[in-house]
Amino acid sequence: MFISKAEEKLVKRFILKRLFSGTIVVLFSVLFNFVIIRMAPGDPTRLLAGKDNPSPEMIAALREKYGLNKPVLEQFWIYLKQLAHGDFGYSYVSTAKVWDLIETRLGPTFLIALTGAVIALVLGTLLGVFAARKKGSKFDIFLCGISYFFDSTPSFWLGLMMILLFASILKWFPTYGMYSLRGNYTGIAKVLDLLRHMFLPVTTLVLIDIPYFFRIARSSVLQTMSEDFIMTLRATGMPEKKIFNKYVMRNAIIPTVTVFGITLAYMITGVSMIEIVFAWPGMGRLMLDSITRRDYPTLSAIYLMLSISVAVMTVVVDIVYAWIDPRIRIE
């Protein structure tokens, strides 16, 4: 890739600016997290001490253990130091380390989130490109209508309907969990069991995500096809097929790739509702449990991880985009 000195400077400035924004977002999230936990109504020590007339000594000991008796600024400093070590503190409910709670849930969440996102990306883009080529046909109109429908559907409701149809009525798939509890399968049988359990949550996720990729692929192909250089190629008499495969696709695919990067960052939020419906042992369940039990440290740790990953992904995507597409640097 050839770029001039001046352009290189522009790119560098752009990257620095994005990194700066990303850093501010992370700092803001950390501060927000700290403030919201301290401002939360209800005293966590009361919750921890239980209902049977806790003694003042016990409450004092608990305040000591969680560092709640120190001045707020010192608490914030301790909080920052802990975070720097990757320590999210202790859960108010189970007294386990928050990170230990999260760690066991990450794998299952990534498993369905990634699978779903990749399938949705491939299917959505293919359908979008196809619809754009047959613009105005019955097929195109049908796909656009369907995409509106799934765009308007709450993911958890779709999940419930999937359970109703495929698990309860047709009995093709299990309704909940990751493995059959009584199966005790090993080897290939275990993988098959996992796939059977994955099918419905992943399908739900794919159906919810497809319209997004579909619309981006469709409009970006249409956009490219209406550009002047395509007209020029047509005027030279180049076959339509060649124009499409060689020139339209290459330009139209860039937005899809970018959007996919950002989708990955938002994965956990998107998938959490679906996890709850299917009792999938992932971050979504942990989130729901933390909400119902008012376990603020766990909730805020999930939020923090999420906002950091969104910030990092956005910045990375922007930078990659700037390298791929020179037009963006001029802005």
């Binding site: 924004s21 919201i36 401002m39 613009k135 105005g136 308007s152 989130m287």
Partner: protein, 284 residues
């Protein structure tokens, strides 16, 4: 004069007829508003009334069945319509007001104000909004007021960016420049000329935001973070979840109503967008 009026009317009618999204959206909106305003009149029961028949399947007495406490589902859905619409409208209005104000100021004044506000927008754009809303509602309580305010405060960036671009473009037009030379103050020009001329894309975006807010509220209700003092479709679905395989009617109908409502505002937004930028007609 009368003839002129008729002409405008036929023109509007022609625009609507040529635009399937707008046409469908308006028809659906009429149905929705009718349900929201007159639903309570047609509801067969008081939605809070605990009937003696628990978990009844849809029948002549209860057209859409009853839930585990004996609430009539149809009546609850009819009463819930106004909750969804209220949350959608007010949250979207809050986001429109914040967005138009900040975006207008940023685009019109330019300079360091623009840079600062732009940076703020970038930051808000990077915050995972659903989870942010969830955190705030989980900590500070789930009254309908809180839900509307928080959704509004986290969804304004789209509006602000649109308004900023509009203000930047309109600022350069001749009639604004002549207002300057006639000695009109900057603030007055912004309020009287720039905002009214740049508002149309915001209207389309705000319509879409209504959809977003309704979906967010449904999601919050599903997590048990809905306002316990009002009837909302999301909460009916949540309550019915436990009885799912056998008592399918509790979850199914409020979900369908949610889709219908969200779809209505999506279509309206798309339709308005299409009227505003006829170029988009090319990729219909």
């Amino acid at each position: 004069m009368a003839k002129n009026k008729k002409n405008t009317f036929t023109k509007i009618l022609k625009t609507i007829n040529g635009n399937i999204q707008l046409k469908l959206g308006l028809i659906f909106l009429a149905i929705l508003l009718f349900i929201a305003f007159f639903g309570p009149v047609f509801a067969p029961y008081n939605p809070y009334r605990l009937n003696d028949d628990l978990l009844m399947a849809p029948c002549a007495k209860y057209p859409l069945g009853t839930d585990n406490l004996g609430h009539d589902i149809l009546s609850q859905i009819l009463y819930g319509a106004s909750t969804s619409l209220k949350i959608g409208f007010i949250a979207a209005m809050i986001s429109a007001i914040i967005g138009v104000t900040l975006g207008g100021i940023a685009g019109f004044y330019g300079g360091w104000i623009d840079q600062l506000l732009n940076e703020v927008m970038n930051i808000f754009l990077m915050l995972p909004d659903f989870f942010l809303i969830l955190m705030i509602i989980a900590t500070f309580g789930s009254s309908m007021m809180n839900v509307m305010i928080v959704i509004g405060m986290t969804s304004w960036v789209g509006n602000a960016r649109l308004m900023r671009a509009q203000a930047k473009a309109i600022k350069e037009r001749t009639f604004i420049q002549s207002s300057f030379s006639m000695g009109e103050s900057k603030a007055s020009i912004l309020v009287h000329h720039v905002l009214p001329n740049g508002i149309f894309p915001i209207i389309a975006n705000t319509t879409m935001n209504i959809s977003g807010a309704i979906l967010t509220e449904a999601g919050l209700s599903f997590l048990g973070l809905g306002d316990p003092n009002v009837i909302s479709w999301g909460q009916i679905i949540t309550a019915g979840k436990a009885y799912l395989p056998k008592c399918w009617w509790i979850c199914t109908f409020p979900g369908l109503m949610t889709i219908f409502t969200v779809l209505t505002f999506f279509l309206l937004g798309e339709g308005i967008n299409r009227v505003l930028s006829p170029k988009m007609d090319a990729n219909k």
